[in-house]
Amino acid sequence: MTGPTTTVAAPPEQAPGGRSARSRVDLVFRARELSLVIALVLLIGATGAVNPNFLSGQGIEDILLNTAILALLAVGQSVVVITRNLDLSVGSVVGLVAFVTADVLASGWGLVPGVVFGVAIGAACGLLNGLLVSFCRVPALVVTLGTLYVIQGVDHYIAHGRQINAVDLPPALLSLGNGSVLGVPYLPLITLVCMLLIGYYLRSYPSGREFYAIGSSPEAARLAGVPVRRRVLTAYLVSGCLAGLAGVLWLARFGTVIGDSANGWELIVISAVVVGGVAITGGVGSVYGAALGALLLTTIGSALVVLRVNPFWQQAITGALLLLAISVDRVLAMRVARLLRNRSRHG
C-alpha cells in the first residue's frame, strides 16, 4: 500500500507547540485521579490533626474494609457506565446474594462452592439486565429500576423475616472478612485485584477499548463493526458478577444478614463512580478513578464520625461533592476544548 504517488515530501512532524499542548491535555484528564488523591490527603491530614486516632492502624483498616465493598461495586458499575448505560440493581443483588449465600453456607456448603454460588447468582442477575438492555432495547434506567425491585422482592420472599447469624456460618468465611495477609485485610486486597485486572483489560485489550467506543458513540461503534450488544451484555455480566462477589464479602464482613442488606446502595455506588471521573454519558473515565471515588466517599463518612459531625451532613456533603465533581468536569471540558482550539490554529 505504498504507491509512488502517495509518498509525501514532508513527514507530518509535531509542531513545536503540539507535544506540550497535548501533554497539557493529558494532564487535565489525569487531573481527576490526581485531584482525588490530593483531596484524600488533605482530608486525612486535617482529620488526623484534629483526632490522631483517625490515623491509627485500626482507623485506617476500618476505612479500607468499609471501602472494599463499595469500591468493588463502583468498579463493576463503571464498566457499565462507560458503555453509556446504568445498573441500578447492584444494591439489591448484594442483598440477595448475601442472604442466599448465607442460607446455603448455613446448610453446610463449603466455602468455595458457596462463593461460586454467590457470584453465579450475581452473574444471573447481570445476565438478565444485560439481555433486557442489549437485546430487547429497553432503556437501562427502566430495566435496572425494574430488576432492582424484582430482585429485592425475591430477597424478601426468601428471607421471610429471618436473620442468619455469624454462629451459623463456617469460620472460614468469617476469617475471610476479618483476616489479613501481612497486615493488609483480605477484602481490600480482593477489590484491588479485581480493579487492576479489569482496569488493565479495559485499557490494553482491543475488546476493552470497545466499551469506551460504544459509550462515546453507539452509532459509530455499530458502523465500525463493534459487537455492541455483546459488549453491553458483558458489561452487565461483569457488574453482576462483582455485585455477587460483593454480596459474599458483605456476608463475610458483617456475619449477620437479614433480607435487605445494601438497600439503597446503588445511588452511593453511582455517586462514587461519578465523583471518580467516569462520565455518566459514557466513553470517559477509569475503574481506578471510580475506586478512588469510593475511597473518598467512605473516608469522608469516617472523618465526619471522628469529627463528631451530625450524620445528616454526610449525605449533604456527598451530594455537594457530586455537584462539585460535575462542575469541575464541565470546566475541564471547556479548558480542553480551548486548548484544542488554540492548538489547531497554532500547532
Binding site: 500500500m1 482491543p206 477499548r209 459509530a220 458502523l223 463493526g225 484544542l340 489547531s344 490554529r345
Partner: protein, 498 residues
C-alpha cells in the same frame, strides 16, 4: 471485462416502511476502476452504500462478492470481506484518540493480545503522512474540525487495505488542497487493483476521478455508462429527468441601507479584526478555506459564541455579546452549517421544527396553539415547495435538501432583516440547490440582507454581489461582483493576494 466484479448488487430492492428506497437496482464495481454514483438527494445513494456495507439487508436481490452471492449480517461481515466505507457524516468516537478511532477493533497487538500503542501511533502517523495531514495521533477526536474528522475517516478506510473502497461524499467538507490529496490516494489505490465507488454532488469531481458512472433517480437505476463522451448536462438530465439551470444567478435588487454592520470583531485565537457591512437587498458571500474562521464569525455575530472585542450592529441597534435571543429579537437569523446537529431537532416533526422559532407568536392564551403551529408550517412549506407526506412526520425522513428547506422555513418565519446562511447547499442535490439559490435571490429582492458562507466557488461567484474572503482568521479581501473570479477569490483565500 472477463473477471467478475469485485462487489456488485443484482436487482436489489429495499423499503423502509412505505418508502421504497431502492427498486431493482444493479451496480458492478470492478477492480482497478473508480465508479461514480450520481443522483439527487433522496435518490437512494446512501441506502445503496449501506447495503454494500452490510448495514442494510436487501429485501430482494443479491449482493455479489467476486461473483458469488453473499449475505452480510452486519457491518463487521462486510469489513471482513474487504469493504471499507467513508460515510457522509463522520462517525468518530469523540472521547477516543485519533489513532484509536482509526484502528478500533483492529489495533496492532503485542504479547498476550494486548494493544501495541507505539506501533498504532506510528502507523497512524504513516497514514497521515500519505494523506499529507498534520494531526497528532494521540489527540482526542473531539474538537476536530469537520474537515479533519473527514480526513480521519479517510485514513481509517485506507488503513483497512480494502479491496473495495466506498466514499460517500468525502469531499463535502474538504478544501481544494485536501481534495487533491484524497484524489491522488484514491488513484493510487485504484492502480493497486482496488475497486472504488465515489459519490459526490460536485459533478466535476466525478468527471475527474471516475471511469464509469451509475445514475439513480427516485430509488431506481437509470444508467451505468463510461464517463468518456458524457457531458455535465447529460448527467444532470439523467439525475433529475429534466433540464435545469445548474446555477441560478442572483437577480439585481435595489440595494438599501446598511442592515448588518460588523466592526473590528475579534475572538481570541479564532478570528481577528473582522469588519464588514451587509446592505438590504444584497447577498454578500463569505468565502475562504475550511478553517479560515468563517462559520466562527457567523456564530459570534449571532451570539452563540462571545466575542472579545469589536461590535455588531443590526439596523442601527448594537447587539450585546453572546446573546442569540437579542440577535433574534434584533432581526438576525442564522441557518447553520450542520443542519442535523444544529439546524433541526431530528426527533421532532416538520411543523414542530418550523414552529420552534416562534413559540411566543404561536401562543393562544397560556398554551401553544397546534393549529397556529400547523398553519405557519403549511404556509412556509408551500412557499418553499417542501416535499413531504405529512407535516406531522419527523424531519428525519426528509431528504437533505428538504431538511434544509425546513431550516430555512424555521428562520424565515421570524421575518428576519438579516439572514446568515452557512453552507446553504452542502450535500443538497442539483435541483434543490437551484431552488435554494432562487429563494435566496428572492429574499434579497424583498429587502433582506443576506450573508452567505460557502465553500463552493461557482455558488459564490453566481450569487454574491460582493465577496469577502477570509484567510486564517482575518478578512483578506473584499471583491466586488465584477472583479470576482475563481482566481481572485482563491488567491485571497490561500493568502497569496497582496
Amino acid at each position: 471485462m472477463a473477471a467478475p466484479p469485485t462487489l456488485a448488487l443484482a436487482n436489489v430492492s429495499k423499503s423502509f416502511g412505505a418508502v421504497r428506497a431502492l427498486r431493482d437496482v444493479s451496480i458492478e464495481l470492478f477492480a482497478g476502476e473508480t465508479h461514480g454514483l450520481a443522483g439527487e438527494n433522496g435518490a437512494g445513494k446512501s441506502t445503496l452504500v449501506k447495503t454494500l456495507a452490510g448495514v442494510h439487508r436487501p429485501d430482494s436481490g443479491q449482493v455479489l462478492l467476486g461473483g458469488e452471492p453473499v449475505d452480510f449480517a452486519g457491518p463487521a461481515d462486510a469489513q471482513q470481506a474487504g469493504v471499507a466505507v467513508i460515510y457522509q457524516e463522520p462517525t468518530l468516537f469523540p472521547d477516543l484518540s485519533v489513532a484509536e478511532n482509526i484502528f478500533m477493533g483492529r489495533q496492532p497487538r503485542r504479547g498476550l493480545g494486548r494493544i501495541d500503542r507505539k506501533s498504532m501511533h506510528a502507523r497512524t502517523r504513516e497514514l497521515f503522512g500519505r494523506l499529507g495531514v498534520a494531526l497528532d495521533p494521540e489527540q482526542p477526536s473531539r474538537g476536530l474540525s469537520i474537515a479533519d474528522q473527514q480526513l480521519v475517516e479517510i485514513a481509517k478506510a485506507i488503513s483497512r487495505d480494502a479491496r473495495v473502497l466506498i466514499m460517500d461524499e468525502p469531499t463535502a467538507a474538504l478544501s481544494g488542497h485536501e481534495v487533491t490529496r484524497l484524489f491522488s490516494v484514491a488513484e493510487a489505490l485504484r492502480e493497486q487493483g482496488c475497486a472504488l465507488l465515489f459519490i459526490s454532488h460536485r459533478l466535476d469531481e466525478i468527471f475527474t476521478l471516475c471511469q464509469r458512472v451509475t445514475t439513480l433517480r427516485d430509488g431506481a437505476w437509470i444508467a451505468s455508462e463510461p464517463v468518456d463522451g458524457l457531458t455535465h448536462d447529460d448527467l444532470i438530465r439523467r439525475m433529475v429527468g429534466r433540464e435545469v439551470a445548474t446555477l441560478f444567478p442572483k437577480e439585481e435588487a435595489a440595494v438599501g441601507e446598511v442592515a448588518l454592520k460588523v466592526e473590528r470583531l475579534t475572538r481570541e485565537g479564532v478570528f481577528t479584526d473582522v469588519s464588514f457591512e451587509v446592505r438590504r437587498g444584497e447577498i454578500v458571500a463569505l468565502a475562504g478555506l475550511v478553517g479560515a474562521g468563517r462559520s466562527e464569525v457567523a456564530r459570534a455575530v449571532f451570539g452563540i459564541d462571545r466575542w472579545d472585542a469589536g461590535s455588531v450592529t443590526v439596523d442601527g441597534a448594537t447587539l450585546p455579546a453572546g446573546s442569540p435571543t437579542a440577535a433574534m429579537n434584533a432581526g438576525l437569523a442564522l441557518v447553520p452549517e450542520d443542519r442535523r446537529q444544529q439546524g433541526l431537532v431530528m426527533d421532532l416533526s416538520i411543523e414542530r421544527n418550523i414552529g420552534l422559532t416562534g413559540l411566543r407568536e404561536l401562543r393562544r392564551g397560556p398554551t401553544i396553539s397546534r393549529r397556529a403551529e400547523r398553519d405557519r408550517a403549511r404556509d412556509w412549506a408551500l412557499r418553499l415547495q417542501l416535499k413531504f407526506a405529512r407535516l406531522a412526520d419527523g424531519v428525519g425522513v426528509l431528504s437533505g435538501g428538504n431538511q434544509q428547506k425546513v431550516v430555512l422555513a424555521k428562520w424565515l418565519a421570524t421575518e428576519p432583516s438579516v439572514l446568515i446562511v452557512d453552507e446553504p447547499t452542502r450535500g443538497i442535490d442539483v435541483g434543490t440547490k437551484a431552488e435554494v439559490h432562487r429563494l435566496l435571490s428572492e429574499l434579497a429582492g424583498q429587502g433582506i440582507a443576506v450573508l452567505m458562507i460557502s465553500s463552493e466557488l461557482p455558488e459564490v461567484l453566481g450569487m454574491a454581489d460582493r465577496v469577502l474572503v477570509m484567510h486564517e482568521g482575518r478578512l483578506a479581501a473584499e471583491i466586488p461582483r465584477a472583479e470576482a473570479t475563481e482566481e481572485s477569490v482563491m488567491s485571497a483565500a490561500t493568502g497569496r493576494a497582496a
